[in-house]
């Protein structure tokens, strides 16, 4: 058979695809990561957070978060002791640029609360997704299959913590993945890595040696909106009752 130019052009990619499938091409190194060995969570020490916004910026850079949307953000609370008043809360641009100094009101306490997806064990967002595009992975993360998401936004409504948004470009839902691409390679999350005070720590609940167990045992720990019974896995130390 004459090897015409057209035949050659057709054959080359076909052969490449065949080689790739049969392993004839250079084989990818097998990942040693086993989902069944892990169950991810995060601990946050509110006493340690200084509201610098490093975590917000690191997350945005690491995950290409579109401008004006947030996979993580930091809130500043200013709360009176008694009589109880409406807490004064702000989070300018999600604390992307940190916070400007604000004179403290007399008789109030101030603190920062970093927020992110709680990767709930009983996620309302997973429950409501009409096609299962939002799902819980065996290693305890709530993730989104963007090739499958309809963009119906039911999950955004169902999340009690306001952690989801619609990616304006892809028109699918987006949220914190706990930097899955990093943690499955043995690294920590971008937010935890860039936190100058160690307020955020990635935790593996299935690892008996993980400091999370000591953290949970030795501190007064709470999750956000415990009455929602979502099985939230972001554990806060020193969480004030005014925080929602």
């Amino acid at each position: 058979m004459d090897m015409t130019r057209r035949f050659f052009l057709v054959l080359t990619p076909a052969a490449a695809a065949f080689m790739d499938r049969t392993g004839g091409a250079e084989t990818q190194p097998q990942s040693k990561y086993l989902m069944a060995d892990h169950y991810w969570a995060m601990t946050i020490d509110i006493d340690e957070c200084i509201g610098c916004g490093n975590c917000v910026r690191a997350c945005a850079t690491e995950n290409d978060v579109p401008h004006g949307f947030f996979r993580t953000w930091v809130e500043r609370y200013s709360v009176a002791g008694w009589p109880e008043e409406h807490p004064d809360v702000d989070s300018p641009n999600g604390a992307f640029d940190g916070f400007k100094d604000k004179p403290a009101k007399p008789g109030t306490k101030s603190f920062f609360v970093p927020k992110l997806c709680n990767h709930c064990e009983h996620s309302p967002c997973v429950q409501v997704c009409p096609v299962g595009a939002t799902f819980e992975s065996p290693d305890g993360l709530v993730l989104v299959d963007k090739d499958y998401c309809l963009g119906c936004r039911y999950c955004v409504q169902a999340c009690p913590y306001g952690c989801r948004y619609i990616d304006p470009e892809k028109q699918t839902v987006d949220k914190c993945t706990l930097c899955y691409h990093r943690i499955s390679q043995g690294e920590t999350t971008a937010c935890a890595e860039n936190c100058p005070t160690g307020a955020r720590t990635l935790a593996d609940l299935k690892n008996p040696k993980d400091p999370v167990h000591e953290f949970l045992r030795n501190n007064s720990v709470q999750v956000l909106k415990p009455h929602m019974a979502t099985g939230a896995k972001v554990y806060y130390k020193s969480l004030d009752r005014s925080v929602r």
Binding site: C149, C152, R153
Partner: protein, 395 residues
Amino acid sequence: MDPILHGVQGFMYPDEVELQWSILIVLYPFITGLVAGAFILASLERVFNVAAVKPTYRLALLTALAFMLVAPLPLQMHLGHPERSFEMFTTPHRSSAMAMFGFVYLWYLMAVLVMEIWLDYRKDIVLLSRSSTGIMRWVYKAMTLGSDNISERSLKLDDKTGWIITVIGIPSAFLLHGYVGFIFGSVKANPWWSTPLMPIVFLFSAMVSGIALVMLMYMAGMKARKQPIDMRCLDTIAQYLFYTFVIDFSLEMLDLIHRIYEADESFKSLDFMVHSRLWTSQVIIQIVLGTLLPLALLGAAQVLRITAARRRVMYSVAGVMTLIGIFAMRWNVVIGGQLFSKSFLGYTTYKLEFATREGLLPAIVLMILPFFILWVLVRLLPPWTAAGAETARGH
């Protein structure tokens, strides 16, 4: 999203500032409500033998069909990826309330509405396929689906089957709209929506809106054809509207009283919202103009001696105000449920755009479309021959 540009007051989680569900999602429960209500009115005559409302039987069925055909369009237009919507049929997520929509919709449309209309009209379609000429002859011929036997025995079988379908259809209509209420009522993250009363409130408000619509369509149809309005029929429909409305309003008030009495953590936030951002749409339009006014008019028409001409005017005003009120109710549920922060510390504003995918213009088009479909259906399958309908069903 810039909080200042979006009219934020207080604190909202940063991803909450922009509303997720727009006016198109307001239309979805409004339109499905009209379908369910119109069908339930039609069923009254068929199953419960309410002879007085017979003149509206076929019109109610066609109205339900016209609106049913439009019902999924606002949802489809709202999706970020409408081309993937078939995935709800092929790989539905069984724990999702929304995943069942396609199945409930198809069941109701194909197994109930279309079947019932076809069986009821089969004799007329066969006769029209014989008397028409040109292209319409072929249209009617196709609509017979090859079933052109109109012997007495055959028509009796049609009638029996139609009755069974109506009996199945009533719980199906309840399912359709109760289910829409469940989509909202089961969102525990949102205290404005999360109540077990939501499906039943949606159901009764659906019946109210559907009955009001058929009442108005009947009056408009008679006026257009310059035919006298059957006042016994109109009074009976108005009576049903009144009773259903009383139940609907009682349920809504029960929900309100329950919220005020329980006063849970969301109460202050929601109370403030009702007294500020929702004051006009909820208190003025939905409750005063859209509920109390029509209830007063419908009640007065029953208690006082009023001339037929005046009653017709009262029913028209009551019908229009009812539809406006129920639309406002859907608005207050869907939009109102997104105006406050889930932190209960702030409020945002809904900015209705005009000529965008989810703007006012497509919403207006979607509301006109069912009336156009109904006009086509009425021309194709004239519902006015009440006498013809009786003979068709072998009464």
